[in-house]
C-alpha cells in the first residue's frame, strides 16, 4: 500500500499530512500521560498532526478525549511525555519551564471559555498585560492596545472594568489581549461556551475575520458543531487519539 493510500485511511496520517511543507505546528507521535500514584494514565498517544500557517482548526470530541491537554501542549503550558512538538521551527518539547514561559509570551495568544480577565483592571489595562513583558514604551503600548481594541470593536469600552461589560464584550477584550502582541498562534478553549448563540456567532465571526484578514493561525477546542463550522477544518479526538477529520 502506498503512503498516500495509508494517509487516506488513517486520520492521524491525514491530519499529519495537511500542509506539511508550510506547517506552523508539527506534532510527531505526540503523547502525554499523567501519573496517578504508581500508575501512568495516558491522555494523548501517538498523535501526529500538522497545522499549516493560517489554518483555522476546530478540535472536537467528548469530555476527557484530550482536547484541552492537546491545546495545553500546543500552548506550551504543559510538556509532552512522548514524541516531538515543533512550532514555528522550534522544538518546544525540549524547552525548560522558563523557556516555555518566554516562548508563550512571544508566540501564543490564549482565549478561554470564562474570559479570565483581571477583574481589578480596565479593558485597556487587561489588553496591555502581555505588552508589559515587552520592551515597548508606555506610549507604544497604549497605541497597540488601542489598535487591538478597535479591531475587536471595543474602543469605546476601553476604560470599563470586566464587571461593567457583557459576556460577549469580555470575550472580545480577551481576544484583544490574545492578539495584542501579534502572536503566531491563537489557542481558543471553548471560546463561546459561556455565550448565547447570537453573541457566540459574533465572536466566531471575529475569530474568522482574524484568521482570514490577519492571517492568524487558530486552534479552537469546542463541543459545539455550529462553532466548528466557522473553522476551515475539524478534527475529532477520542481517548487521546485523532479519529477523524474533514
Amino acid at each position: 500500500m502506498s503512503d498516500a493510500n495509508e494517509a487516506a485511511l488513517d486520520p492521524q496520517a491525514s491530519a499529519a499530512s495537511a500542509g506539511n511543507e508550510t506547517a506552523l505546528v508539527h506534532c510527531t507521535n505526540l503523547g502525554k500521560s499523567y501519573r496517578k500514584g504508581k500508575e501512568s494514565v495516558p491522555v494523548l498517544s501517538n498523535l501526529n498532526l500538522n497545522i499549516p500557517k493560517g489554518d483555522f482548526l476546530a478540535l472536537m470530541g467528548p469530555s476527557g478525549s484530550g482536547k484541552t491537554t492537546l491545546l495545553n501542549l500546543l500552548g506550551g503550558l504543559d510538556s509532552p511525555t512522548d514524541g516531538s512538538l515543533e512550532i514555528a521551527g522550534e522544538r518546544i518539547d525540549r524547552f525548560s519551564r522558563s523557556q516555555l514561559t518566554r516562548w508563550r509570551a512571544r508566540h501564543v495568544g490564549f482565549i478561554f471559555q470564562f474570559y479570565n480577565l483581571m477583574p481589578v483592571l480596565s479593558a485597556e489595562r487587561n489588553v496591555e498585560l502581555p505588552l508589559l513583558l515587552t520592551k515597548l514604551s508606555s506610549k507604544q503600548r497604549k497605541k497597540q492596545v488601542a489598535i487591538a481594541l478597535e479591531l475587536v470593536g471595543l474602543k469605546d469600552r476601553a476604560k470599563h472594568k470586566p464587571s461593567e461589560l457583557s459576556g460577549g464584550q469580555e470575550q472580545r477584550v480577551a481576544i484583544a489581549r490574545a492578539i495584542v502582541s501579534d502572536p503566531d498562534l491563537l489557542l481558543c478553549d471553548e471560546p463561546t461556551g459561556d455565550l448565547d448563540r447570537t453573541t457566540a456567532d459574533d465572536i466566531l465571526s471575529l475569530l474568522q475575520t482574524l484568521n482570514q484578514q490577519q492571517g492568524k493561525t487558530i486552534v479552537m477546542v469546542t463541543h459545539d458543531p455550529l462553532a466548528a463550522e466557522y473553522a476551515q477544518r475539524t478534527l475529532h479526538l477520542d481517548k487521546g487519539t485523532l479519529i477523524t477529520g474533514n
Binding site: 490564549f110 483581571m118 481589578v120 489595562r125 508589559l132 508606555s138
Partner: protein, 385 residues
C-alpha cells in the same frame, strides 16, 4: 515600575480587608516610633557623655550629699584638669505638676566643663555671674513656660529657706542652648552660693562633682585616686565615667531598652501573622488569575516579585503612616516631657530601623504566598476554575 499599577490595583481588591490590615500596621508602627524614641531618649544621655568627664557621688547613693571641701581636694588631685559641682533643688513652678530640673551650680566653672554640650552667650554669662539670684535656663524650658531674659520667676523647692519659705525667687539672666542632640535644655541652673547661704539645712554640702580629666586614657586611674582619697571617711565617694554614671542612673527606671525591645518584638510578631494572613488570603483568591499571568508569559520570578512587592507596599503604607504619626505625636509631647527627657524626639536611627522593619515585615509576610504563586502549576490552577 510598569507593574506598579497592577500591584496597586491588586492591593485595593478587597478594600476593607486591606485597610484594616494597614490600620493594624499603623498602630504597630506608632508604637515602634514612640517606644524606639523613648528608649533612645533614655540612652542618649550616656551616648553624649564626654569621655574626659568623671562624676563623683556619695558611695551610698546619689541622694547623699558630699562635703563642699571635697571640691578643692579633688581639684588638686593629680590628673584632674577642672572640677565643678551641682546640687539638686527639687522644685516646681507655681503648681507641683510643673516639675522641671533645677541645679545649684558653680557659675564660674559649670559651663566650662560642659562647653561641648551647652552654650550660653558671653554677655548673658556675665550678667548671670554678677547677679546673686540670677539663673539661666535652657531653650526648651524657656519655650515651655514662655520665660524670657529679665523675668522674675518663683520656684518652690523641697529645700526651705532659713525663714521657712520654700518659694525661691530667681531672675532669668540668660538662655542656654544645647550644642548636641540630647543635651539637656529643659533645666535651670543658678548660683550655689545663693542656695547654700539661704537654705535651712544641709549647708556646706554639694550633690555631686563633675570632673574633667587631663587625659581620658587615665580616667580610670584618676577615679580610683579620688575614691582612695576619701576612703574610710564619713562620706566615701564613688567615681565613675560620665557614661557609666548616666547608664547607672537610667537603670533606676529599669532596663528600658530590653523592655521596649520585648514589647516591639511581640508587636512585630503579631503584625507579621496579621499581614501574612491577609496576603495568604489575597493570593489564595487569585490563584486562577496568577495562572493566567503565567499563561500570558509572566515568569515564575515576576509573579514572586509582584506578590512580594504587594506585601511590601502594604507594609510601607501602614508603616510610614505609623512612623509619621509617631513623629507628630512625639513632637507634640516633647515640649511636655522635655524637662524630664531632654532630647525626646524621633531620632534618625528610629526612622532607619522603622524602614528596615517595614521592609522585613513586608518580605516575611509575603514570602510564603509568593513562593506558592511562583511554584503554581498553570494547568492545575486553570483546572480549578
Amino acid at each position: 515600575m510598569k507593574y506598579f499599577y497592577f500591584i496597586w490595583k491588586n492591593l485595593g481588591r478587597k478594600k476593607l480587608r486591606t485597610w484594616l490590615t494597614i490600620m493594624s500596621i499603623v498602630v504597630a508602627f506608632i508604637l515602634f516610633g514612640a517606644l524606639g524614641s523613648l528608649s533612645a531618649a533614655f540612652t542618649q544621655g550616656a551616648e553624649i557623655a564626654g569621655a574626659d568627664r568623671l562624676v563623683t557621688i556619695h558611695k551610698v547613693s546619689l541622694i547623699q550629699s558630699l562635703p563642699y571641701s571635697y571640691v578643692n581636694r579633688v581639684r588638686n588631685t593629680e590628673g584632674v584638669e577642672a572640677v565643678t559641682f551641682a546640687s539638686w533643688f527639687g522644685g516646681y513652678y507655681q503648681d507641683p505638676k510643673n516639675q522641671f530640673a533645677q541645679f545649684a551650680v558653680d557659675a564660674e566653672s559649670y559651663f566650662d566643663i560642659y562647653s561641648d554640650l551647652l552654650s550660653l552667650p558671653e554677655e548673658q554669662m556675665e550678667s548671670w555671674q554678677n547677679n546673686r539670684i540670677g539663673a539661666v535656663i535652657g531653650t526648651a524650658l524657656a519655650q515651655r513656660f514662655g520665660w524670657e531674659v529679665g523675668d522674675r520667676v518663683p520656684v518652690t523647692s523641697m529645700f526651705p529657706q532659713e525663714d521657712g519659705n520654700r518659694t525661691w525667687e530667681f531672675e532669668i539672666e540668660g538662655i542656654f542652648s544645647a550644642e548636641a542632640s540630647g543635651a539637656d535644655s529643659g533645666s535651670m541652673v543658678f548660683h550655689y552660693e545663693y542656695f547654700d547661704e539661704a537654705r535651712q539645712w544641709d549647708k556646706g554640702t554639694v550633690g555631686w562633682l563633675m570632673i574633667k580629666v587631663a587625659d581620658p586614657q587615665n580616667a580610670g586611674e584618676v577615679a580610683d585616686r579620688i575614691d582612695a582619697m576619701f576612703a574610710n571617711s564619713p562620706a566615701e565617694t564613688k567615681t565613675s565615667t560620665e557614661k557609666a554614671f548616666m547608664e547607672s542612673f537610667m537603670k533606676q527606671f529599669g532596663d528600658i531598652g530590653t523592655i521596649t525591645g520585648l514589647i516591639l518584638g511581640a508587636v512585630f510578631f503579631t503584625m507579621l501573622l496579621v499581614t501574612a494572613n491577609t496576603m495568604a488570603q489575597a493570593v489564595r483568591e487569585r490563584i486562577p488569575e496568577m495562572a493566567i499571568l503565567k499563561t500570558l508569559g509572566f515568569t515564575d520570578r515576576s509573579v514572586l516579585v509582584m506578590i512580594l512587592a504587594e506585601a511590601v507596599l502594604m507594609a510601607l503604607i501602614g508603616g510610614l503612616i505609623g512612623l509619621g504619626l509617631a513623629w507628630l505625636m512625639i513632637g507634640a509631647a516633647a515640649s511636655q516631657v522635655g524637662a524630664f527627657l531632654p532630647g525626646f524626639a524621633m531620632p534618625t536611627d528610629v526612622w532607619v530601623q522603622g524602614l528596615i522593619a517595614i521592609v522585613v515585615l513586608g518580605l516575611l509576610s509575603g514570602a510564603i504566598p509568593a513562593l506558592q504563586g511562583m511554584r503554581l502549576n498553570i494547568v492545575t490552577a486553570l483546572g480549578r476554575r
